[in-house]
Subunit: 338 residues, 2 copies
């Protein structure tokens, strides 16, 4: 049975949401969940549920990392935090994967330096799933684990993104692309021109450069970029969705007939909400770390926590890390072409 170390103190409504998510996951997914956090708090949340028959255990961790702690503060000064303890459980083989909806920077730093990276990986990359117009998913990476990436890093991100997509969405030859400012090869910046050349000569199904708008068109499965750009793209999309929801709500409340219309079309709106809800897609894995690590949104609800656990356990079951190590070490053994 796959064992998940869940940072019970991570999200905005921790540990309540984490406890509920853990119960859903243990009940529906057949995984064992270690709830890592302040024992008294976790226990009193657990007491609100029937969980005795479920494979759920508490692992005590006295310290709590705040959303305002800097990653380096969290890493250096809070060694008894839920995140540190959960990461050590993974490092020491007592858990297969780490799941947290906490401070993203802290999770990335602690996962990277406590659990460590895979031998062939230079830098881990954070992968985010975006729903697209074809009602499928496109994965973008890196969305913020690194800045000022070098061509060889983006090449590794492409390999890891390809494996992640194959593992979770079962597509045999994912269409891998590079985020740039024009489809022509000559367009882009220094970095993308060099990376495009490398990917063209790789064994991946590289379909070329894509522009910002293609992220939502559904013509590609994996979109590779530097973490600075990926993070801006992710935050911009979240901000715009929030903006449009607010605008629609205002527009609809501005007249009586519209209000009636709103009542009637509520089902459609809920459907729309669901589809733009990133929590449905199961969190963002930090690819390239020795133990599977999945980061949920700080505003995760119990369902989002469950989905993050689902993704983590599938990545374990399909041995994603073994595949990454295998493909990257094979790639680095072949002299560069092109």
């Amino acid at each position: 049975m796959t064992t998940i170390a869940l940072d019970a103190m991570g999200g905005d409504h921790a540990p309540r949401v984490e406890v509920e998510g853990a119960i859903l996951a243990a009940r529906e997914l057949g995984v064992r969940v270690l709830l890592v956090g302040v024992e008294t708090q976790v226990r009193s949340e657990l007491a609100r549920h029937r969980y005795r028959a479920l494979p759920i255990e508490i692992v005590h961790a006295p310290e709590v990392i705040a959303m305002t702690d800097s990653p380096s503060q969290a890493f250096r000064r809070k060694k008894e935090s839920s995140l540190h303890v959960a990461a050590r459980l993974v490092r020491d083989g007592q858990a297969d994967a780490l799941v947290s909806a906490g401070n993203t920077g802290a999770v990335m730093t602690i996962a990277r330096f406590v659990i460590g990276t895979l031998p062939s990986v230079d830098r881990p990359a954070l992968a985010a799933a975006f729903p697209n117009m074809k009602e499928k998913i496109s994965v973008i990476l890196d969305v913020g684990a690194n800045v000022d990436s070098k061509p060889e890093h983006l090449e590794q991100f492409a390999v890891m993104g390809d494996i992640y997509f194959r593992t979770i969405w079962g597509v045999k030859r994912p269409r891998v692309s590079l985020l740039s400012i024009g489809e022509e090869e000559a367009k882009g910046n220094e970095l993308t021109r060099e990376v495009a050349n490398r990917l063209k000569h790789s064994s991946l199904n590289f379909v070329g450069n894509v522009e910002g708008r293609d992220v939502f068109r559904g013509n590609v499965d994996v979109v590779v970029c530097d973490g600075f750009i990926g993070n801006i793209a992710l935050k911009l999309s979240e901000g715009l969705i929030e903006h449009i929801r607010a605008m629609l709500k205002r527009a609809i409340q501005s007249s009586l007939t519209s209000q009636i219309g709103y009542a009637l079309s509520k089902r459609a709106f809920n459907d729309f909400r669901r589809r733009t809800d990133y929590s449905e897609t199961g969190g963002a894995p930090l690819l390239g770390v020795r133990g599977i690590t999945v980061i949920g949104h700080g505003r995760s609800n119990p369902n989002a926590i469950k989905n993050a656990i689902r993704v983590a356990s599938e990545l374990c079951r399909c041995r994603m890390n073994e595949k990454i190590e295998q493909e990257l070490s094979a790639a680095s053994a072949v002299p560069a072409r092109g």
Copy 2:
């Protein structure tokens, strides 16, 4: 009277849309419009309207630049195109500003190399206006005129963006910010850390770094970034808006009650459409060129053309270029601090 050289062959529905936009502008804005394009085509479109009393003239240009022409092809091989002829009219003082809804890359290249840049400007920057949640406008620049910008370029973009915002939106001390991946100064990449340091010591009202989601929050007026990132941000936003519209339409058509709801809330939807319609904001000026240059969207309608002409004539009337030259030459005379 301000004279606008309008590329009549530019947009997707040229010259019909351009001719209608010119008539609206000449009638409502009190500007003189030179319709530059294939004379027979422009004349036959004009013949469908009453325009004799309006300050509209045709300037013949036999060649047409296609959306598929590369900027360098357009620049080198189509010297008798409407864009070249219009740019020469501005260069030679026969027109005050160039407006085109044509091939953005071609407009930027031809404006830059035919009209030239201002003496103190290293690189022109394309500025796009985004509607924000406070029902105001935030300006982002550069959205694609340059890639691999250096710190001094971004510093110039900030100065030009500040002047543009003051000119068009009448704000005395626009809040200038830098697009990055965290508000803390230490966050970001090499480029943004250097630029933040420069802007902090400038005379601008620099309010610090902003994240992608802040672009729509309305807490800042001017957002500065490299053109690679700005272009991705712009295209991503357009793609996401298109995606959400399609999703809403599908969701709403999927049930009978929703259809009734749709009919009733149609006014609200139209209002929403209008607010997310970038054509309302009047095109994107290419700041730093010797003659005012405004680029409209290829899918511009007559109203968008009129709005682009309105922005161009206001930038002329307020002598934006003189202000840019004055402030940048003063800034470069002062030794760098910080």
